[in-house]
Structure formats: C-alpha cells, structure tokens
Amino acid sequence: MALSKEVYREFEDVVGPENISDDPAIMPAYYATDFAAVILPGNTQEVQAVVKLCNKHKLKFRPICTGWTGMFPKGIVLLDLRRMNRIIEINEKNMYAVVEPYVISAELQAELFKRGLNFCIKGAGSNCSALLRGHGHMDQTTSGDDRNHLAIEWVTPEGEIVRSGSLGSIGEWFSGDGPGPSIRAILTSAVPPGVTPGVFTKAAVKLYPWPGPSSFPVVGKSPKYTLSEIPPNMMARYYSFPSVEKMWKAEITIGENEIAYELMGFNAAMVACNITTCNEEEEEVFKKISKEVQGPGFFIIIGGYSAEDFAYKKKVLEKIISDNDGKSLKMVEDPEIEGILLCQCTRISASIRETFRAGGAFNSIPIMGQRDLCIKWAIGAGKAKEPLIKKGLIVDDGGAFFGWGVEQGHLGKTEIFCKYDPSNAEAKKAVEQWQKEQTMRAFKEHYFASTMGNLEEVGPALCNFHLWWRKITKSLDPNGVSPEGGALV
C-alpha cells in the first residue's frame, strides 16, 4: 500500500528526503511486511507533524525503537525513532534522568555509574531503550514498571503534545503526578490491549543509588569478558534450596533486611546461559550445575556503600542462607565467574544469551505478584513443559521457571520460558498451545499474566476494564490511526 507521490512529499517536507523511504528494500529489514513508508523523525515537533499527517490521510502508524518485539501490520507508516537518541538531562540532585526513546539503557547506565547512580534496566537487555517500561534483574532496589516513570512528553494519536505531571505545570521533570496533569493510568497502561497509543518522545526515569564502581574493570576479549578484580564491597553468589518454601523464606527475609542489591531467581539453566559463550558449552555447564543444585534457587548481588555496610550485609546473608539450608553454587564462587555475573547482571548485557541464543525464539509467560504464590502456578507450567522437552521440541531447561524480587520483595515477578527453533512448525505450534493453556490456567487461578489476550473473557473478570479502555482509546484516537500502541517498545 504505497503512498501517493503527494502524500509522500508531505512527509518528506517534515523529515527531509534522507529520513523517509518507501523502497521495498527497506521494509524486510524491519519486518516481513509492506509498510506504506518508514520515517525517521528527529525530534518531538517532527513526530507531531508526522502524526498529524497520518490523521489527515487516515494512515495507521506505529513507532519502534531498537525493536526486537512487535507485530507490524501491512500498510502502516513505521516511525523508527533511531534519530531521537539524546540524553536530555541527568539531574543528580533530584535523582532523575530525561531521555529520548533511542537512548539505550547501556548508554544511560554508563553515564549514571560515573555519578554513583543507576536505574531500572528492563530484562530485555541494555541494548533496548532506556525509556522502555517493564521489569528487570535489579528490581529488588530499582523497582519496575510504571513506578519508575516521572514526567512524560507524549504525542497523542491525534498529534497533540501532552506533558504529564510537573512538566505540564512548571516545566520540571521530577514528578509524573503533579503538580500538573497526572494521566498515569493512560500513559503507563500495560493491560492488553492497553499499550498506550501515540508516541512517547521524552520521559524522565527515576534514579537510584549505585554501590558499585564508576565503570567495571572489564578485561579479555568477546565473548569471554571477565573483570580484572571484583569491585570493592561487592559480591555475587548463587544459592539453591531444598524446597520452594525455604527459598521463599530466604527471599522474603533478605527483603525484610534490605541487604540485596539484586535478587534474581535464576534457575540453573539461566545461570548456564549467562556464563557460557556458546550453545554446546551451555548444555554441558547446565548438566554440571543441575547435579550440584539441591532445588530451586536464586542469584544474589550484595553491594555495600562502605566496607562496614558490606560486612554487615554479608553476615546477615550468611545467617539467612544457613537458616534456610541454602547451598552456594561453587562455580559462581570462582572470581572469574563471579566477576562476569556481577557485570552482566547489572549491565544486563546477556539477555540475548538467556533467550534467543539456543534456538532463535522463545515464548514466555510472565506472572506478576507475590513470589511464593506465583511460583506455585509456575511449577504447574513447568510440569506442562515436560512432554515438550521429552519430544525434543523445546530446549531442556529442566522445566524450570525463574523470577525476581521487586522493591525488597514487596512484589515479585515469576516467569517461564519455552525456547525453541521457530523453523520447526511442530515445536512452534506446541509452544503456542502451551502458552495459551498455561495463560488460561493463570487467569482461572486469579493470577495476572501479561499474555492474557481474549478480552471478552478477561475483561468481565477485571471490572470490565476493556470497555473503559476502548472508550478511552476511541476518544484519544478517533481516526483509529494508532491501533497497535507500542509507544514504549
């Protein structure tokens, strides 16, 4: 569905000829579909002008950033936000940073480390947008989801520029809720299909103290980077437990004592992914670790703000682990392995190893809520994976789930993957079926899974939110030009 020459020229007048293309060669790089055009806006004003033109010509659009997710329907205008890659401000005093969509998390984090600060990097990896909402490895201390977004600049589906919170009243970024218009429920909605329509052009993200070094002393060559030394007052360990109950007890006690910088409930398979440099090595290490762990476990990073603080946290940790019969994985005590895990699991630089490396694809069901309850659901989902593993359709990870604490365990997230070869139609079908069935089970058992899709079934159980959401999106997007949302992808 090509644009007419006249319409193309209107877009071209906004962004310049170098930043628009409807050439068929451009399209498959993004997705195997025919876009009306791919446009690279360079700033908020250009986004606004492009969105207004989309409304004028009733053209559907969708923005993307680094872009490893998403569905892209035929005929849409794709807004690639790659040129919007500026860190606008790092406010150390008020502890927030303002970024454009194509600032990747690794860039922002590196700048923050120099200032003794850090922020929540989403589990998708530090190669993704710093603006992305979601959860990640460091949620224990950096929280997650919408709780980290402060003021936001948003181009609505009709092309209005909306500035939320303090930005909308006094031009400051420090708050998303006021003084000024708080539209948090709309801007940060995650309930399907409530991914906010329009385009987020700038956002302030909350910052947190960082006990680690201003930069990690990374040595060696890719793919085997190590640290020349373990940074002072930092430690990483993996503990396994005889039962889920004991692991949970340890997790919650650690949270109550506020001693963990990171608490990532990796399973043995994910530890293996992180510390190995290829698929063959990963299989071998997984087998080795599986023999040593006594049951479910977690990876933990302790970071002290002083030697005394570190010593205290370490001592408390030892007591909690001992009280709950935890066992440290010897491999992670090796400073070479410990060092790289410290770096990777705070710089979030190995997510692709955890997800795509094995077979090229993965499907996931993330469950948000109290960890011990979610784990009960996840054990069932893991058992449901076993026949797929036996048939060789998915990667053998022991049927395990993983998860992590959020805000010192007030909240938590549990997730379960199936990794497979997407070119194997049987595997793909089996994984999709597994995902559908287990998501439905989550819904019936009153858990919240972000993979829940059938709104006619889900909505009535959740105060008919879908009817409200449809009204809101209809009002925001009367021309239906931004149906896919995805503004923070």
Binding site: I26, I104, P422
Partner: protein, 422 residues
C-alpha cells in the same frame, strides 16, 4: 558456497540491535557507543548488520528486487565485521559471512557500482587496486638495493601492497619497513614491479572471481620465490593472504605476518632494540583487517543437529574476533621509549572502522571521510598528539579527513615510530 548456506544463521537474527553498538559491557556513556558506521550514518535499520541479514533472508525466499536503494544499502558498508563481534557476544550465528555472500551475489547478478567496476577494470588490467602503471610499482624502492624475491633466495617475502606502492605519500612506510628489516638482519626480498594485488579489496567489494585470480597468481609467485614467510604492512593484504587465501584453500603452509607481528617478534628476540626516545602521546587505531578480521580462518563443514537448538555436528566454532591481532602493535609501541599510549573507548575487537573498507572509499568517499572523522574525534578525546595505526588505507583516510576538517592530529604508522626509535 553461497547465500543459501547461511539461511539458518540469518533466521536466527532477533532484531535486538546489538549489532549497532559495541558490546554492552564496554559501553562507557552516550558517546562512542556505536560500532557500525553504516547504521550510525544512514539510520534506517536496513543499514545495520541485522537489517542486512533480514533483507537477504527475505529476498532469498521472495526474490531479489534490485532497487537503487538496495544497491545503496549493499555498497554503503565497510565490511568491517564489527556487527558480527557484537552479535556473537551472545549469539551463535554467522553475520559478516552472509553479508559478504549477499554482496557477491549482487555482483554476480550484474548489479554493480560504476565506481567499483572502474577499480576492478584497473585490477584486471594492471594487477593493482589503485591507479598507476605496472612498471611503477617498485619505484618506492629505487636506490635501496633490495633483493628481488623472484630471483634471489630469501627467507622473507615482503609484500608491499598497492596503496603503499603507488601512493608517493605512503612510500615512507615501505622504506621504513625495508630499513628496519635490514637493521634486524633479515634475509628478505621484494617483488618490485612484478608484485601484484592480493585481491582482498576486490573480495570485499564482492568480486570473488577477481579475488581468486589474484590469489592464484600470488601463490604461484610466492612459491617460485621459495620464501616460507610473507610479511606485509597492509592490513587488507594481511587478511587476504592469511585468512581469505586459507578460506579458499590456497594458502598452503605459508606463514603470513603483519609487520607489527614480525617486528614484535624481532624485538623480543633482541634483533631490534628500540632505544632512542620518541616523545609522543599517542592513541592506537586497530585496523579492522588486522584486528577482528585478522583472526585465522576456521575450516568447518557439518550439519545442523535436528531439534530445539541451533547446534551442529561437528560443533561449529565461530570467529568472534577473539583471536585478532591486537597485542603485537601495542607491544611494539610500548617498547619505544617516550611513547605514551592512551586507549580510545572503541578498541580491539570492537574498534570503530577508519571508513576505507568494502569499497566505500571508492564508491562513496564522503561516507568514508565521515567515518574517519568520527574516529578522529574519538582519538582527539584521549588527549593524544597522534593517532597511530598499522594500515596504509587507514592512514590515508585519516589524513584526508584531518585535512578536510582542519584538525591538527598527526597520523603515523607503527613502523614510522619504530624506525625513529632504532
């Protein structure tokens, strides 16, 4: 060989965009985080490593539609391989190889770039990558009384390379190299006017047959010389002789060394003693084809093991840039009294390209200079007085970029500083 063999690899791309950046652990801030000049300059995802794989894979299934834009995407890539290094930190898949095959297919399908056709025409006529009469190739050595490797018995064959041979500004590199070899007492020779192009740059441009012709002719010449070791100061030549000739089973047991590797060895053996002080603060630029692309070829053939994982029988070992030549040039520089080396952000396996590779300096000189200016900015940020490199193509491109931007950074080859010190 062909694009088809990489279909599985291309399908593995998950569009994570890691190929655009240096490895995430190495990102030190908002500046110097990009590793791919093409995506950094042209912005559309199609210009990234992943984008190129996605296009090639899609067109393999749906037919090749050679639009002007497609040819623009194909030609505006230095083939520097940085995308592959960043991808292969996490993924087991080939990246540069399918991009190379895509380029070869474009040429074989007759969709060439006039500027590159002209270069290849000259190669076919004069056995050279740059303009210049065949008889002028050895002019740089006039008066040096060097041995003729084609007639005299020598241990080391010094292959000078096209740019150093024909560009008078680069003669100094060959002359310095010859004088250093003499000082070390090495029994070496040159081919002078009979030296011919290695073909490496033709390969980068997608002209595989022309590359193979050059490779066969070169190996015949070297065989006749009897030399067991080939030394070159050009990173492109180095990669061609060491890696590409091996890839096509043409190298035999010829030992291929870059001048920096050989001089590092001679220093360690005590045959060269850098003792004179060279008071200079420098930064070192890793040439792509000496660094990440200079790692040995790994011969492998096998089949994917059916099932859930992308694994092969026998296991496939990927070239991830780990074993490139990074330390020898640094060792040589650090052996020179007075030289103070400060590293840039993007170094070794994730170094930023100078801009000259893949035919870009011939087909799109503005893009080559843009890429070089990015590097110069990074070099200047270290506070160094000079940027030192180990390839004439890098030196030439940097000097042109400096000239056009009015910068006063000096550019040297490692051999120039070494000669000053001995």
């Amino acid at each position: 060989m062909g694009l088809e063999q990489y279909q599985g690899d291309m399908a593995m791309c998950c569009r994570c965009s890691a190929c655009k950046f240096i490895p995430m652990q190495k990102v030190q801030g908002a500046k110097y985080s990009y590793v791919c000049p093409s995506i950094a300059r042209y912005n559309f995802h199609a210009y990234s490593g992943g984008g190129r794989l996605n296009i090639a894979n899609w067109m393999l299934k749906n037919g090749f539609n050679y639009t002007e834009k497609l040819l623009d995407i194909v030609k505006n890539c230095q083939m520097c391989g940085a995308c592959g290094v960043s991808c292969n930190y996490a993924m087991d898949m080939e990246v540069l190889e399918p991009i190379q095959e895509f380029r070869i297919k474009t040429v074989e399908d007759g969709h060439t770039v006039p500027a590159l056709d002209k270069v290849i025409e000259n190669l076919r006529k004069n056995d050279a990558m740059v303009a210049g009469g065949r008889t002028q190739r050895g002019s740089w050595a006039k008066g040096l009384k060097l041995k003729d490797a084609t007639t005299d018995r020598v241990d080391v064959y010094y292959h000078v390379g096209c740019l150093t041979s024909f560009d008078k500004n680069m003669w100094k590199l060959a002359q310095s190299t010859a004088r250093i070899l003499e000082k070390a007492g090495v029994n070496f020779g040159i081919a002078g006017a009979t030296e011919i192009c290695c073909g490496g740059r033709a390969y980068q441009m997608g002209y595989r047959e022309d590359f193979l012709n050059q490779a066969k002719k070169n190996m015949e010449l070297i065989k006749k010389s009897g030399a067991k070791t080939l030394v070159t100061g050009c990173a492109d030549c180095y990669q061609a002789f060491k890696v590409l000739y091996d890839k096509y089973n043409l190298k035999g047991d010829l030992e291929v060394l870059h001048t920096t590797e050989y001089f590092d060895r001679l220093i360690k053996e005590g045959r060269l003693k850098p003792s004179r002080k060279v008071d200079l603060s420098i930064t070192y630029h890793d040439p792509c084809r000496l660094g990440r692309l200079g790692e040995p070829w790994i011969h492998w053939s096998g089949k994917k093991i059916p099932g859930d994982r992308f694994v092969f029988d026998p296991p496939k070992i990927y070239r991830r840039g780990t074993n490139g030549v990074y330390e020898p040039p640094r060792e040589v520089l650090n052996s020179i009294p007075g030289v103070k080396l400060t590293e840039m952000v993007r170094i070794k396996e994730y170094a930023w390209c100078c801009g000259a590779g893949g035919g870009v300096s011939e087909s799109n000189p503005d893009f080559a200079l843009w890429t070089a200016r990015e590097r110069i900015d990074e070099a200047v940020s270290t506070g160094a007085q000079a940027m030192v490199t180990a390839c004439p193509w890098c030196e030439k491109t940097f000097n042109e970029a400096i000239k056009s931007s009015g910068n006063n950074l000096k550019v040297y080859d490692v051999v120039e500083l070494l000669e000053q010190a001995i």
